[in-house]
């Protein structure tokens, strides 16, 4: 039916028109007969959280085989990824005590590092504020007094950041608690990256300073990066999209 316009005659024109009509009807019938197809809508590939029919546990996102490390994700820097150092004196053990509420609280921190392994900058503290207001504020409250909304809903109250014990606690302890949890608190390593956990620790230090402005705080940062109290306004940097 590939007639060019030079071959146009009344007859061929009519033939083409009737063919077009027939074709239209045929297309309609075909579409009705086959139903609507979704091959492109639902493609045979795994999108995030799609269920796998192949693996018996139904998970399309697989765990790494045990003992493997993705390129660039070797966590060799122990201080940076755990907030701890190898025990300088093996005879010194972690000391704990039980408070009035029956919670076990730690009173000595022989393994925790006392200096930030990252540079403490205004950006770091702002980022920490941003993350704190997502993950920590729910229980620890806006200034870390342990009066967050979830506590008001019945979760056991966490200790305040503003007692002597936690004011004097090394930064590595806070990092360790965020990473692995403590008491009723679960670890947040799955939700918060190590860099963000250090940012939160820096912000906790800023909160402690804000509640005790005269105190000489154990920030142990370089002089150029002296912390300032967190700004009262909700100055979210938004985190951006990397």
């Amino acid at each position: 039916m590939f007639l060019s316009s030079r071959q146009w005659t009344v007859d061929s024109g009519r033939r083409r028109k009737s063919l077009y009509c027939l074709l239209s009807v045929a297309v309609c019938l075909l579409a009705a007969g086959c139903g609507v197809r979704f091959d492109m809508q639902d493609q045979p590939r795994y999108k995030v959280y799609k269920k796998s029919e192949f693996f018996s546990d139904g998970l399309s996102s697989r765990d790494l085989p045990a003992g493997t490390v993705a390129r660039g994700l070797l966590k060799a820097d122990k201080a940076l990824y755990t907030g701890k150092i190898d025990n300088p004196n093996p005879n010194v053990q972690v000391e704990t005590t039980t408070n009035a509420a029956g919670n076990t609280i730690v009173t000595s921190f022989p393994n925790a590092i006392d200096e930030f392994p990252v540079a403490v900058t205004k950006e770091l503290i702002d980022r920490g504020q941003d993350r704190y207001n997502i993950y920590c504020i729910v229980c620890h409250g806006p200034v870390g007094a342990g009066d967050g909304m979830i506590v008001r809903r019945g979760f056991g109250a966490p200790p305040t950041y503003h007692d002597d014990r936690l004011r004097n606690a090394p930064v590595g302890h806070f990092f360790d608690v965020i990473t692995n949890g403590w008491g009723k608190m679960n670890g947040y390593a799955a939700s918060i990256s190590a860099a963000d956990r250090w940012a939160i620790v820096a912000y906790i230090r800023a909160l402690q300073l804000s509640q005790n402005p005269d105190e000489n705080l154990k920030m142990n940062a370089s002089p150029s990066a002296a912390p300032s109290p967190g700004p009262a306004a909700n100055n979210n940097t938004g985190g951006g999209g990397n």
């Binding site: 492109m40 809508q41 729910v138 799955a190 938004g238 999209g241």
Partner: protein, 219 residues
């Protein structure tokens, strides 16, 4: 020779021509409306989930930030569904005995993920990335609606191409400051038209031609 058509046939012919046009127009209108209807798009249809999870309670009443659970919304294409561990952060203590939460506890015990029903099912020939939208100033509620008022989540918009394009053509009508992305109470009127145009430039949103290029979404 007898008249084949009566005289009224002229009028009938005229009316039927008009009726044909009206009928075709109506049919086309109905076709477009059916295509946009919630019958075909799933808009406003609440999904039954394995757990009676209420965003109204967790977001509206408790004020939990979106990113507490949807942790990867700023960094990856998927906003991220919380692991059962995230539920247990609180529900190991609160409502720990509630029969409503038995599927959560079972998931935690057996180390099997909860099989949530997908609410926003974008066709797989369309590429979508949460992180770029969040970074450029599109707030959660712009697309997802007032999640903090939804006991069970439904799709607020059609997710049809014309809906995507409405914003890709004129993003300055919809964007907001980065500090307000997760604010469920944000109203479009909170920012003046001039401020939005400034914001578009500040967030380096590309030209209309680039934003509506086919391969932005179909790649």
């Amino acid at each position: 020779m007898a008249q084949f058509f009566s005289k009224s046939a002229n009028n009938i012919a005229r009316i039927s021509m008009l009726a044909g046009v009206v009928l075709a127009g109506t049919a086309f209108f109905v076709y477009t409306q059916v295509a946009r209807s919630s019958y075909l798009t799933g808009r406003y249809v609440e999904r039954q989930q394995p757990v009676q999870f209420s965003h109204k309670h967790h977001v509206g009443d408790d004020g939990i930030d979106c990113r507490y659970c949807h942790t990867t919304v700023e960094t990856t294409a998927s906003a991220g569904m919380p692991s059962t561990q995230t539920c247990m952060n609180c529900h190991s203590q609160i409502w720990a005995d509630s029969p409503y939460l038995e599927p959560v506890r079972a998931s935690f015990r057996d180390n099997r993920p909860i099989e949530w029903e997908r609410v926003h099912d974008l066709p797989e020939f369309a590429y979508f990335n949460h992180s770029i939208h969040v970074a450029k100033g599109v707030g959660c509620s712009t697309c997802h609606g007032q999640i903090d008022n939804m006991p069970s989540v439904f799709q607020e918009n059609t997710l049809q191409m014309e809906w995507c394009l409405a914003c890709h053509r004129e993003p300055e009508k919809f964007i907001r400051p980065k500090s307000e992305i997760y604010n469920m109470q944000w109203q479009d009127g909170d920012l003046s038209a001039a401020e939005r145009v400034d914001l578009k430039a500040k967030n380096k949103i590309r030209s209309k031609e680039m934003m509506t290029s086919c391969s932005v979404c179909h790649r």
